[in-house]
Symmetry: C2
Subunit: 350 residues, 2 copies
């Protein structure tokens, strides 16, 4: 049998990703939209009569046009992809040579290290400050070719200070990817500023506020020069035609995004207060989830809730988020249910 020495050296210790056994649990572990599937996309799909035999448009021009209308940019500012995961992968593929350093904050999205290494890069972990903000100097001194950071950050929930992002963008010798996966829940975004910077790539997804994770759509926004390089590297036709068309319908229904934002803005303080009342230490969030340090053992909390039919995400074994869990902000009913069951589990643990 061939050993793992045949693999790319940066990836030989890789295992598979989070793939929990799912029953009928309520999912408060993946931060999808609790309002349910995107209504405009669903309406498009239910009325769709078409042809699946031909290839999609090579670079998803229609979706890129819809996005350029939304943001007041040009089609060629956009790179459309099969989930934001694809455009992140393309960014590393486009701009890194083997062994080059890529700067990733800790704590942040666990898959960034995966994307760096599958593309042959070397991850440089840069700790966030005590209040989970960017350590600008550490990024600038990292020697990295590419830096990636989510804002709002996952799993901590907060947005990074715009002046810190500006300072990194101005002084960093390389590409800076700002992953706005939760950007629709925040009032801040760097998208409309992509033409100001030589080196800014903003990434967005349709999997969170847009409520269509099942269809895998994402995009990158950058200046025409950088976006043009990425489009030459991305796999042609990678976005299937149904997902592209559903995403266009979703982009044109901004009312759903406003309602999603409003629900989270209303409910997040209530969930936060409820968790604090149960003894959790919570962190400020600009997203549709809250990071909270558990008053009981994180693993017992997560497995206790799963037995009661609710899934939340466990970050308690990772550095900087010791004993923490990440909980999606639900509707009023979901939050009440979550808080009641959490109280029961805490009672059983004591």
């Amino acid at each position: 049998m061939v050993s793992r020495d045949i693999m790319r050296s940066s990836t030989r210790d890789f295992e598979r990703y989070y793939n929990p056994k799912i029953g009928n649990e309520v999912r408060l572990d993946t931060n999808v939209n609790v309002l349910g599937s995107n209504p405009a996309a669903m309406s498009f799909l239910s009325g769709w009569k078409g042809d699946i035999n031909g290839y999609p448009n090579t670079y998803s021009d229609d979706l890129r046009d819809a996005l350029s209308d939304l943001y007041g940019l040009e089609r060629e500012n956009f790179v459309a992809g099969n989930g934001s995961d694809e455009v992140i992968d393309v960014a590393f593929k486009t701009f890194t040579e083997f062994g080059e350093k890529c700067a990733v904050p800790v704590p942040s999205y666990v898959l960034y290290d995966f994307f760096v290494k599958i593309n042959g890069g070397d991850t440089v972990e840069i700790d966030l400050t005590d209040d989970f903000q960017l350590d600008v100097d550490a990024f600038l001194k990292s020697g990295a070719k590419v830096a990636i950071m989510p804002s709002p950050n996952n799993p901590t929930g907060n947005s990074f200070h715009e002046k810190d992002l500006e300072e990194i963008l101005s002084d960093f010798e390389g590409i800076v990817i700002v992953d706005e996966a939760y950007g629709e829940y925040s009032d801040r975004s760097m998208i409309r500023r992509v033409n100001e910077f030589d080196n800014l790539i903003v990434v967005r997804t349709f999997s969170k506020a847009y409520a269509m994770a099942g269809l895998r759509v994402g995009y990158a926004v950058s200046n025409l020069n950088i976006a043009g390089m990425m489009n030459c590297i991305k796999i042609p036709y990678s976005l299937n035609m149904l997902s592209e068309k559903a995403a266009i319908a979703a982009v044109r229904d901004q009312d759903f995004i406003r309602r999603s934002h409003a629900l989270v803005s209303d409910q997040r303080p209530r969930l936060d207060a409820g968790l604090r009342a149960l003894g959790f230490e919570t962190y400020p969030s600009d997203s549709n989830f809250i990071l909270a340090r558990s008053p009981v053992d994180h693993a017992e909390l997560v497995s206790g809730l799963k037995k009661k039919g609710v899934m939340i995400r466990d970050f308690g074994s990772r550095r900087r988020t010791e004993n923490c869990v990440r909980i999606t902000v639900g509707s009023e009913e979901l939050n009440t249910m979550l808080l009641d069951k959490t109280a029961e589990v805490i009672g059983e643990c004591r």
Copy 2:
């Protein structure tokens, strides 16, 4: 403005892929199934009522189960992906280091060089023999880490001799990818033999005989060891849930595949004879297309046909296929129409 020196060195001269302006032309340039969209997939989609808010299964287990039933293999022999393009990309990502050589036959699929180089590899072109078969010695002496070859070959149409594939698989020091994109039209396949070899990866697509290019589904088949490595490297959830479910419906309708094979087997000799009668030199095909050397200038032929509403693919400027075009085998009506219009264009060129 940042120059292209910021890009991965192997890709700095890349341009975008084939993206022709399309009107209402009949497409005989992309080798999709002339029977039209996959009926089982269309039936599934038209009746679908579901949820798009949740993530798909991380590794497309249900599709991999359907494929294992079809071939009598195990789920873990399969890697499912967003088109065969994704699984080819994953294979190079998994098994090549920067600068390692990858062997690609000439002529063959034009995107292989793209996949090698986006992943930092160095393409070694290996000429096919005069009758477009594999030069086994040249592969064995290439010093390549990965070899990739389509069988049936695109754009020449013929399958490679199984004994040549066996000899390469046994003696090649590295991974051998056999891309059976047109495998449903051939009576030969290496899929059921993946467990015999340490180093064989077979790739298949739903874009050709399965008639669902618009949905982007493909897969790799290998022994459990190699497939396991690839699944650790592929992007989780990369196959969207609608495409996965549509593909499962399509796998269960093998009658459509048999009808597609029968149509091509009936019509290919007729198209071949018609082209020869017009002065083309044709090559033997085991696929749903024919490579043919034009009796008039290839570019004039292709543009003349486009003006008359038919697209065929021009390979006439490439080495080894000088003045050749590739034409999809159509239905009887399509072939008659193609031959009539081709005769007109030839007349106008003279």
